[in-house]
Each structure stands twice: as structure tokens, then as C-alpha cells.
Subunit: 150 residues, 2 copies
DNA sequence: TGTAATCTCTCTAGTCACTAGAGGTTCAAG
DNA sequence: CTTGAACCTCTAGTGACTAGAGAGATTACA
């Protein structure tokens, strides 16, 4: 079981440059190299990368994943901090949903108010954005960090 | 009505470096300057920055905001593209909510499965992340772009 | 064994929407 | 006229990658 970086990428669904990036960030240990300096991976790395990918899919930051891996490497430590990290993530997800729902209703209101067939001067979308009073009050004012849609 | 950049920041809630950043991105026109080369703003800039801020609060990208401003500057054009941008944003918000809800239930399941008082070797959080089969199948596998929590 | 196609290597730079800091200049109050 | 706050430009950093250049390694097949 000697996998090239491309094999590992194919098996885990993580792109090749991303694997190298994870190594540079310390989430994956530097693997053994072939005679020609190419990375060679085994089962352990396959599993760890699967772990990372699964955690990323659930939205954990690389920093949080690093902490979880640290814990995984020390099975006799208390698992409380893993639980805390996951709870933090859950809380962040819930908060984000809450804010996005407020955005959704505001945007829906704006979109529905506009027929889309007039001139820009009469556009309800533009008017709503220009005039905060047209807005059902209090949509998140300082929530940029959680409303980015990348 | 001659506002310094600090006054403008105080009135709109947009930070000073962010205002300069918007200017550099072309969202705000370069304003007149004082004798000593400091920016001086008037009512038009105040309103435009309010527009930008409102749109940012609703999650629009700077690129989308640029397109909306372009339209605002040409009131005789059709408003259809403004509506399209807003609809796109609404769709993106809804999609994001959908994905976050899937994450939420998965995370809640993982967190609830763990008492948090054992050792890391028996931690359900860590086990769930290590083994995708422990997972109620199909949570978003390729949804990173919309699940980041910044 | 030769060769061609595909991988892989390192390094740099770009993405988005800011934010922080250095080092220097201008303004407004007292 | 002095002081201190606000302002100027410029560079670099954030997170989590992604893209590309230019060079070297590996593999499949003849």
C-alpha cells in the first residue's frame, strides 16, 4: 500500500494541491518520499485525510481540526475539549442560519416588490438598498462575517 | 457639508480603512481633497456609502454592488438586471440555509451522542469524524464554499 | 532501451473583503 | 503656537485554498 499523492487525492476526493497545503499547515505529517522525492502515503495517512475531509465538510476550521487531531493522537486525554469544539461549531452553524433567515426574508420582500420590467429609476430593488427605511427594520447590521456567501 | 473620512465613517458605520478600500475598488469615486490632501465628502458620497453598506449587510458581493451602482447611475436603463442580481443573492442565501441545516442536524446528532466525560479513545465526536459510516448518510460533501463560518 | 505522456516537485502569486501596522503629514482646539 | 488626534500612502496579513511556471520523476508501451 504505497499511494502517490494523486492516488490519495483520488481516494479521498481532496485535491492534490490541497493535500500539500494541509501538510504545510501541519495537519498531515510529512510522508516518506520515493527515490525521486515524491510523496508516498499509506493507510494511516488515508484515514487521517478522510477525517480532515469529513470535518471540513461539516464546516470545522483547520485550526479546530488541528485540535481534534491532537486529541486523536492522545487517546487517553479527556474528550471534553472535542465535545466543546463540536458544540462551538454547532452554535456557530445555528447562529449563521438565524442570520441568513433574516436576510432571506428581507431579500424576498425586496425581490417580490419589484416587477423587473421598469426602468432603473423606479426599481424597487435599488430603492430598497438606497433607503434603509424601506426595509423591515433590523436586519443584521453587523453580521458580515456570517453572511458572506463566498 | 464637508465631511472628513472620519466623519463619514461615524455617520455610516463603515470603518475608515474600509472606505479607502471601497474607493480603491472603484465603488466610491475619488472625492475632492483638502489643501493638505485629505479626502472631503458631501451628501452624494454619504448616500452612496449608505447604499453600499446596506447591500453588504444583505450579503451582496462587492462585484454585485458595483453592478447595482452602475445601474443606479443610469436611471433610464432597464431594472431587470438589478432584479436578477437580487434574485441570485436570494437563491444563494436559500441554498446556504439548506446546506447549513443539513450540517446542523448532523452536528447535533454527533454532539448529543457524546457525554463528554470519557477519554478521547471513546469519544463519539472523534469516532464520527473518523468514520463516515457513523454519519447519517449524505451530508453535503462538496459544499465547503457555502459552509464556511469565517 | 527509448520515448512520450502523465505525474509530481517547489515556488510564487492570486482570490475576497477587509484589517493592522509603519512611518510620515495635516488639522483643529486651546 | 503647540499638542494630539486624525489623516495620508504603502505593504503585508487573514483563511482555505487555487492557478500557474518551470523543472524533474514515473509509467506504459513499442
Amino acid at each position: 500500500m504505497f499511494l502517490s499523492i494523486g492516488d490519495l487525492a483520488a481516494r479521498t476526493g481532496v485535491k492534490v494541491p490541497t493535500i500539500r497545503y494541509y501538510e504545510s499547515r501541519g495537519l498531515l505529517a510529512a510522508p516518506v518520499r520515493s527515490a525521486g522525492n515524491q510523496r508516498r502515503y499509506g493507510r494511516a495517512e488515508l484515514e487521517r485525510l478522510g477525517f480532515i475531509r469529513h470535518a471540513r465538510d461539516l464546516g470545522f476550521s483547520l485550526e479546530a481540526i488541528g485540535a481534534l487531531i491532537e486529541l486523536q493522537d492522545h487517546p487517553d486525554r479527556a474528550c471534553a475539549s472535542a465535545t466543546r469544539i463540536a458544540q462551538g461549531q454547532l452554535g456557530a452553524v445555528r447562529e449563521k442560519i438565524r442570520r441568513l433567515r433574516a436576510l432571506e426574508s428581507e431579500l424576498a420582500r425586496i425581490v417580490e416588490g419589484c416587477t423587473g420590467d421598469g426602468a432603473a429609476r423606479d426599481c424597487y430593488v435599488l430603492a430598497s438598498l438606497a433607503d434603509h427605511d424601506l426595509c423591515s427594520r433590523d436586519h443584521p447590521a453587523d453580521a458580515k462575517s456570517s453572511t458572506q456567501l463566498s
